[in-house]
């Protein structure tokens, strides 16, 4: 029955111009339409200036939206009288620069900000803060009283993510979540997100200029370029258009890059290779090694 309910998020012929009507107007989104269903894991991919961040901002109505373009759970978020506070309690966004969304000076207080503002009882808030900080590898007892500004960049990013997780939003949007993390931090965050998505049946949206991180998290890609949707489909289908993606300056996953190179040697190599294991198996087959 799932497909019968309205999509959780929908953009319908979305257009957006910053500073519209002034000499400094800049057109960010020209025409974008897509739907995201509950529980989907979607990667929004595109080069810089493609409009990814504007699309992210539109999900929580952080722009001067016009009616009839952005829908949450079937309702127009720009309609007069729409409850924006409720929308923002349901769509959690982790921004590119974590510092901008940290409000309080102390780690524990900052993570508690969202639940407190939502009116949760103190006990529940404390439980959520503990749970979120622990999940991100910042042990609650050790970190809750630390000053945010004394933390490293990677730790601040994790505090920002914890602050959003503590809200228990059904939709989680991450804008370039892997930027500034070391390989171990990336792996840990990746595992955490996959686990959370399953446990909480999250709708997960990941924005990135690189397909390698997003391909491990998402099952569908929406590729943007210059404010338009260029490709939209399951990960493997989109990756089949590797040439087009490379043209757009989108970083492909390493096995895909490898497979493209090997294709010069073995022209019959299938186009939808995604993981190292698949590539290895196909190569071994062709080299005649059992």
């Amino acid at each position: 029955m799932r497909s019968e309910e309205p999509p959780i998020l929908e953009l319908r012929n979305f257009r957006y111009t910053y500073l519209e009507g002034t000499p400094r107007a800049s057109e960010a989104i020209r025409d974008v339409s897509f739907e995201i269903r509950r529980g989907e894991r979607v990667g929004i991919v595109g080069p810089t200036q493609s409009g990814k961040s504007t699309v992210v901002d539109s999900f929580a109505h952080l722009l001067r939206l016009k009616p009839g373009q952005v829908f949450y759970d079937g309702q127009d978020v720009a309609a007069p009288g729409y409850d924006r506070r409720k929308l923002r309690r349901e769509v959690g966004i982790v921004f590119q620069q974590p510092d901008s969304q940290i409000i309080e000076d102390v780690v524990g207080a900052d993570v508690a900000f969202g639940p407190t503002a939502a009116g949760l009882p103190a006990e529940e808030t404390r439980r959520r803060v503990e749970e979120s900080l622990n999940a991100l590898g910042l042990p609650y007892t050790e970190y809750r009283l630390r000053y945010v500004h004394a933390l490293s960049g990677g730790q601040r990013r994790r505090v920002a993510i914890a602050g959003v997780l503590a809200m228990h939003t059904p939709v989680l949007v991450l804008d370039e979540p892997m930027a500034g993390l070391d390989p171990r931090g990336r792996r840990e965050l990746l595992e955490l997100l996959i686990r959370l998505q399953k446990d909480r049946d999250l709708t997960l949206i990941v924005c990135s200029a690189s397909l390698s991180d997003a391909s491990l998290l998402c099952d569908r890609f929406v590729v943007l370029d210059e404010g338009r949707v260029v490709l939209d489909g399951p990960v493997r289908e989109v990756l089949r258009e590797a040439d087009r993606l490379a043209e757009l300056d989108i970083t492909l996953p390493e096995p895909v890059i490898g497979a493209r190179e090997f294709k010069k040697l073995f022209p019959d190599l299938p186009a939808e290779i995604l993981t190292e294991d698949e590539l290895e198996a196909e190569l071994l087959k062709r080299l005649g090694v059992a």
Binding site: Y18, L19, T22, P23, R24, D57, A60, H61, L62, L63, R64, R84, R85, R88, R89, V91, G92, I93, F95, Q97, D99, S100, Q101, I102, I103, F113, G114, A117, A118, H149, G163, V164
Partner: protein, 276 residues
């Protein structure tokens, strides 16, 4: 949602390629200086009435949309009205009893107070308008070059002109950057449940106050980064530096300067003569 860049245009440059944009930056700076001096000399409404057509002319020739300038000056004008309100209420001085319109303790509204506040208001608007137009029509590079050339001779007596001009230009350049930063912060915090887009003007203003600390921190970080960037690129002032683009003042530029000076003299002197 908050789009502060609409409401604060200070320090922005809008390239419309108009004749004013193409003028020599030095001449534009001198003209601005003439305007500033004139704003202090002109002392009655009639004088400012003489100035007005020139400002309208500048606005038309510059091709910068008037609506944009007005909307971008809202915050400034609001602040000015606020200040002038107190100027009127607390107007000191020996006011004859007949000119009091309202009186309560040390607070009063008198015709003298209103007149002074009116002149003061016009003076500040005039000053604000000409400096804003200077920045809207002059790129930062031209502005820097112009200032360095005008004050260049002072370097002979060891005044560090290049450094001073640089500091001035950086200060102006930081205004739009800060405004962009405030917007970004407000957006991120709205997403977390601080509704910057709700409530009356006062509530919103108080919420922006919350952003002061993060803005200061990022401001210092930015300044630090800029200093490092300049060091790594071997910045050492303007000594021995040549310019790719030379400024040229044409006859027309000088003619404009002459016209402005004459116009301002007229605005200063005419009203007195007329009355006398």
């Amino acid at each position: 949602m908050l789009e502060l860049q609409r409401n604060v245009i200070f320090g922005q440059f809008i390239d419309t390629g108009s004749p004013i944009h193409r003028m020599d930056a030095r001449i534009k700076l001198v003209i601005t200086f003439v305007f500033i001096v004139a704003s202090f000399l002109i002392n009655d409404f009639l004088g400012f009435a003489v100035v007005l057509p020139l400002l309208v002319l500048i606005q038309l020739v510059s091709r910068v949309p008037l609506g944009y300038v007005l909307r971008g000056s809202q915050l400034f004008l609001g602040f000015l009205v606020f200040v002038l309100f107190f100027q009127v209420l607390f107007y000191p001085g020996d006011v004859p009893e007949s000119s009091y319109l309202w009186h309560w303790g040390f607070l009063s509204i008198s015709t003298e107070g209103l007149y002074t506040a009116g002149i003061l208001g016009l003076r500040v608007i005039f000053l604000y308008y000409v400096t804003t137009m200077l920045m809207l029509t002059t790129s930062l590079v031209d502005l820097t070059n112009g200032l360095e050339l005008i004050f260049g001779p002072l370097q002979k007596i060891r005044v560090p002109i290049n450094e001073l001009v640089l500091v001035f230009v950086i200060a102006i350049k930081f205004v739009p950057i800060f405004i962009g930063e405030v917007e970004r912060l407000a957006r991120a915090q709205t997403a977390r449940g601080v509704p910057f887009d709700e409530g009356g003007a006062l509530v919103r203003a108080r919420r922006i106050g919350r952003l002061l600390v993060p803005i200061f921190i990022s401001g210092f970080a930015r300044a630090d980064l800029l200093a490092t960037a300049m060091n790594t690129r071997s910045y050492r002032g303007g000594r021995g530096r040549t310019k790719l683009r030379q400024l040229h003042a044409t006859g027309a530029d000088w003619l404009v300067l002459l016209l402005v000076v004459a116009w301002m003299l007229a605005a200063w002197q005419l009203p007195d003569r007329l009355v006398a």
